[in-house]
């Protein structure tokens, strides 16, 4: 049998199957199940026996207030840092405590990112932030240790803001650990989450004051996209070392069977 004829028959079969499927779908009115969208959960911890569900809005509000107090205004990309730190905390807690609610005084976070908004986010969760005396009964530990191993002792907003001038994608590493068990998990943001020119552009727009209007706009788009990713993408899409859920093997087998059936039918007819 000529290959060309088999090809035509396979094409005819595909057409027949397409219209048969279209007729079934039309007549039955079948609708696609709604896609499960990622939902940004709350960081749940226990503070002296009381369960607290900390939302990103609550953290954002605190961070904004503290940065405004210290600097008079808020850098435009602050939200992105809060989202990244918040997501890292969510992942770290779920990996270390595996569904259990951790006690606030058992949480230790070591950040490699010398930046005020992310630091305040971690400080709020560990209860180590400024003016948190009335908001917590106990506190965990938060430290900033740079990539070269230097401990940043001055965690004031102004100082961290100055240090954040030279940050890169490699600095987005956070170690979340349980003080009691010593178990820890390093959350590392994937490098490709950030556009290639992002940190250069950030330095120019946020610190240099020499950026053109176009560059300013581009920076706004870029950090907004990153922020959307932090708030809406699955963990494996933004963090290193996590595997994408494997496709259902039964569906793959079914798909291969359908393709084989088309070829065999084309050979028989």
């Amino acid at each position: 049998m000529k290959v060309g004829k088999i090809g035509i028959k396979a094409l005819v079969l595909v057409l027949i199957m397409f219209y048969a499927l279209a007729a079934i779908a039309w007549v039955t009115g079948v609708e696609a199940p709604e896609e499960e969208e990622f939902e940004l959960g709350e960081v749940t911890i226990e503070d002296n026996g009381t369960e607290l569900a900390i939302s990103i809005d609550e953290v954002s509000e605190y961070v904004t207030e503290k940065i405004e107090d210290a600097m008079g205004s808020v850098p435009e990309d602050m939200e992105m840092f809060v989202s990244g730190a918040y997501r890292a905390t969510l992942l770290g807690i779920s990996e270390v405590w595996e569904g259990e609610v951790p006690s606030r005084d058992d949480i230790k976070i070591v950040s490699s990112l010398p930046e005020p908004a992310s630091a305040l986010c971690f400080q709020y969760i560990t209860g180590t932030g400024p003016s948190m005396e009335n908001l917590r009964a106990e506190n965990g530990v938060f430290e900033i240790v740079l990539q070269d191993g230097t401990l940043v002792e001055n965690t004031s907003v102004q100082h961290l803001y100055e240090l954040s001038k030279n940050i890169t994608a490699d600095d987005w590493k956070f170690e979340i650990s349980s003080i009691s068990t010593g178990e820890s998990f390093v959350v590392e943001v994937k490098g490709d989450v950030f556009p290639e020119d992002f940190f250069g552009l950030r330095e120019k727009v946020v610190f240099g004051q020499t950026a053109s209007e176009k560059e300013g706009q581009e920076f706004t788009w870029e950090w907004s996209d990153i922020n959307d990713g932090f708030q809406g993408f699955e963990d494996y899409e933004i963090f290193e070392g996590l595997e994408e859920p494997a496709p259902d093997s039964a569906t793959i087998v079914a798909l291969i069977a359908v393709i084989l059936a088309i070829v065999i039918l084309a050979l028989i007819i």
């Binding site: 499927l21 779908a25 896609e35 699955e234 859920p245």
Partner: protein
């Protein structure tokens, strides 16, 4: 002889309908105009697609009046092929969209079937009707 007269009428009607749908796609493809949708039919707002379908209709209609002649039949066949290319792209798109679920995995059975559901583009409605051209190709071959 009668077959060809009926065939001419059939392809003239098919050509005019194709031409009209092509025209509509061109109009909806113009800036500021939205796509049309009625029942299971959806006219996608795509200017270039519309131009191809419009000319497919024009060729089918022009060839329909001299279907017995090889040139007329060729013209209608050419118009039909243009239509098949557009419909083929639509079919290919649907097949490809029916396999993944949009979240990195494979689609569920419901999601797979729903991909083949309405709305359909005019090209998908017209494709089966245009396949009649094969009958006349065989007839002329005889």
């Amino acid at each position: 002889m009668m077959k060809f007269k009926l065939g001419s009428a059939y392809f003239a009607i098919l050509g005019v309908i194709t031409l009209a749908f092509g025209g509509l796609e061109v109009v909806t493809g113009l800036p500021g105009i939205e796509g049309l949708s009625t029942g299971a039919l959806e006219i996608p707002p795509d200017l270039w697609r519309g131009i191809i379908i419009f000319f497919a209709g024009a060729f089918i209609t022009a060839g329909a009046f001299k279907l017995r002649d090889i040139h007329g039949l060729g013209m209608s066949t050419f118009g039909s092929i243009m239509l098949w290319i557009i419909a083929g792209c639509d079919i290919f798109t649907r097949i490809m969209e029916s396999i993944p679920n949009g979240a990195g995995g494979l689609n569920s059975l419901e999601g797979f079937l729903a991909t083949y559901g309405p709305p359909y583009s005019p090209a998908l409605f017209l494709l089966p009707f245009s396949l009649v051209i094969f009958y006349f190709i065989k007839e002329v071959e005889k």
